[in-house]
Symmetry: C2
Subunit: 296 residues, 2 copies
């Protein structure tokens, strides 16, 4: 049995300290103290669990990176940049090396996004990571509830890469997609850019149909999307599968500029009917027959 | 299998919304947005797990209350008042009533401390609650690292009540102590009062010896405590057992007023030797013989 102290020591070099200008009290006290910013705090919690959110044979460094990345995705979806995180780690590994590798994954993503780890807790049990993310709006927060009828719908990248990556991992196949599953790139630059234009936004974590459905439900609208316009990796089920962490956003047609069109994928428009319609070869694709709900 | 949505719906009435003046974006979006306060943010994470932090047969409402209370304790130890929390809940209960009872425990403590639930996540697995607490200093944060040689050491209440409560629960005995285990009272009023005087502070969650040891270690000092001055419930092992959530703080003798003395228990003083000495009947009690480390 490894002591809690030995595990915490693995994290010691990563935890923000007073030399970081935004940190008043860093590691080693009852709580962290983060310097007041003249900006509203954007905060989200995300739990990633073994067998549910990542395969049982995932490497600790991959688990760490992915669980933090998917939590950060919620900030990007809000038009917010990340500033700091804290982690509640549950693990039953009795190998100190597991924790060292886990912290190397934490360190990698902290460096990539220039964010700080301000604290956390560890306990013994089936591997689960509760990641708390904190950030501030680039310009304004982009909500789910503010899409308007007639808005155009964009996604920031192809769907299904995460799904294929997980399938490849399970088949022990090495592919570029495995990396996309464990190391999803969170589109903060896009988030900053679209926060000037977008009327609503969500990250595609649960699948386009469900996530766009959430925008529709919260905004009291519907959507019509054209299957042929959606870049997919596998097949139509990519529309209902998650794990992509691309953004889905809406934008008034009057606000669309060439840069927006050239960067992202225009996949449909917001309608007044309170349902999602997928058109494939100009025919309405029956979502319910595919076992999908229209979620609105 | 209950859907995640059904579980989240149990929490819906509790999650802060825009009518709360400190909340910009409440439930139902990718993240919560908390209004900027002109104060540094105090933040801590605490995981409470079944079989480790509470008995396997605990009631859901008791689990909820206790896991939030013990997390709040870290704020009190920092001289901070609580403002809002978020929760990462893992549970394998397939009974919706379990979640309803759990939320009733959450609601009870939110009301008692007048704090807001701003968000969270739920997932399936062995019962575990990752509680994130947020607050602001009453006056100034009280750290672990700032005890001075010659300071007096106080604790804010008796030790061992939680230990006896847990033992009584396990013996199916109904006693006032069971309530003290599941419903520890977090001493925020005391925290506010002593934040004017204290040179250092910690909450007694891991046992007095270990927690006072942490103050000594961080401050580069030692301590001498008089066993007879410490109000205990059971026996001397109460000094090394946690679960009390009283505060242990140090204070310069020049700053002590009668109010402080009459409210709390003066148990010893900070010394220059880097160890903790317990005196019992004027003899030095051998901590190591009791299986304790002096932790300094």
């Amino acid at each position: 049995m490894i002591s809690e102290l030995a595990i915490l020591n693995c994290f010691q070099h990563l935890v923000a300290n007073k030399t970081d200008k935004s940190i008043v009290v860093g590691s080693g006290d009852d709580a962290a103290v983060i310097k007041s910013q003249d900006k509203d705090l954007v905060h989200s919690v995300d739990i990633s669990k073994i067998n549910t959110h990542f395969p049982h044979d995932s490497r600790p460094e991959d688990i760490a990176y992915r669980s933090i990345a998917v939590a950060l995705s919620d900030l990007a979806a809000m038009g917010a940049y990340p500033s700091f995180i804290s982690i509640g780690l549950t693990s039953n590994s009795s190998n100190l090396n597991w924790y060292k590798k886990f912290t190397s994954g934490v360190e990698k993503i902290l460096n990539e996004y220039q964010i700080q780890l301000v604290g956390g807790d560890v306990t013994n049990g089936e591997i689960s990571i509760c990641v708390n993310v904190f950030g501030y709006a680039y310009e304004k927060n982009i909500l789910r509830s503010t899409a308007k009828i007639g808005d155009l719908i964009f996604i920031t990248g192809p769907l299904g890469e995460g799904r294929k990556g997980l399938a490849d991992w399970n088949k022990k196949e090495k592919s570029q997609y495995v990396k996309k599953f464990f190391y999803p790139e969170i589109p903060f630059e896009k988030s900053e850019y679209i926060s000037k234009y977008a009327t609503s936004c969500i990250d595609i974590s649960d699948g386009l149909i469900k996530d766009l459905g959430s925008i529709c439900k919260k905004s009291g609208v519907g959507a019509e999307i054209i299957f042929e316009n959606i870049p997919i990796t596998n097949d139509i089920d990519d529309l209902s599968y998650g794990d992509d962490y691309k953004l889905c956003y809406t934008c008034s047609p009057n606000k669309i500029d060439n840069e927006l069109i050239s960067r992202d994928h225009l996949i449909g428009k917001i309608t007044s009917q309170k349902e999602i319609i997928v058109k494939k070869e100009n025919l309405i694709f029956d979502l319910k027959k595919s076992g999908w709900d229209s979620f609105v």
